[in-house]
Symmetry: C2
Subunit: 148 residues, 2 copies
């Protein structure tokens, strides 16, 4: 189960409107790519796909929009254990946090949801009196198929 909740198309756009954030053709293209993506995309993949919807989209607009969505807490930024270079990957933030497990041999990414993760986060909030806004747990190792 890659994504725990089904995305309603146009949801990001509605959320931004609701917060009084201006909408443009370029943003619409980028949001639509993020909402319909079936895998984790990096900034350059996002740019290429968005340009198919609106050729005027520029690289800097992609970065600026990603920054906006991060600040709004609407997307999560991932490293995926730097399996392919130093860049970041992005995904729509939906429902509860999930863990990313990256196979260091075949590169497969597995997502995992656990009650224990939620429990760990509560413990941190209580014992450290820390207010959590983002929690990113990434794991590297060998998947079932790749371990010897």
């Amino acid at each position: 189960m890659p994504f725990p909740e089904t995305e309603i198309p146009g949801r990001l756009q509605a959320l931004l409107a609701q917060r009084g954030i201006r909408m443009t053709d370029q943003r619409r293209a980028i949001l639509s790519v993020i909402e319909t993506a079936n895998k984790h995309l990096d900034a350059s993949q996002l740019l290429r796909k968005a340009q198919k919807l609106d050729p005027s989209v520029d690289r800097s607009t992609v970065y600026r929009t990603l920054g906006l969505l991060k600040r709004q807490g609407m997307i999560d930024e991932l490293d995926l254990m730097h399996l392919n270079g130093e860049g970041h990957y992005y995904e729509r933030k939906l429902g509860r946090d999930h863990i990313h497990m990256a196979c260091l041999r075949c590169g497969k990414i597995t997502e995992f949801v656990s009650e224990r993760f939620e429990s760990l986060k509560s413990q941190m909030e209580q014992e450290c009196r820390f207010h959590i806004l983002v929690a990113r747990l990434e794991v590297g190792g060998y998947c079932t198929a790749c371990r010897r």
Copy 2:
């Protein structure tokens, strides 16, 4: 729960020797900086400190040595929520994994060790039949002093 697990100076060097890895003055300088660091260092801070011990140390040697130590599982690479740019931070891997909590307002980094984290990792290994080599949990939010 907590483990002092104090570092023995020269331990990294001994471990590398034990694995038949060649030692050089530059590596000695870099290892010594890592072992005596009292906070998380990034590559350029590491370079500056290493050059005080051996002025011949070059930037690329720092990166190559960090790569070596990562492959040997002797250090962990951290993002610390990208509080200061896109670079990475490094720390000696000791005892059990710990969580890094970064305050998005004051930048303070808090480390946290939890049995629940260990339990979560076991669950992933069992339920996903995944062999974990590295687990990185980073959290961003507001610390006690900064939350309103």
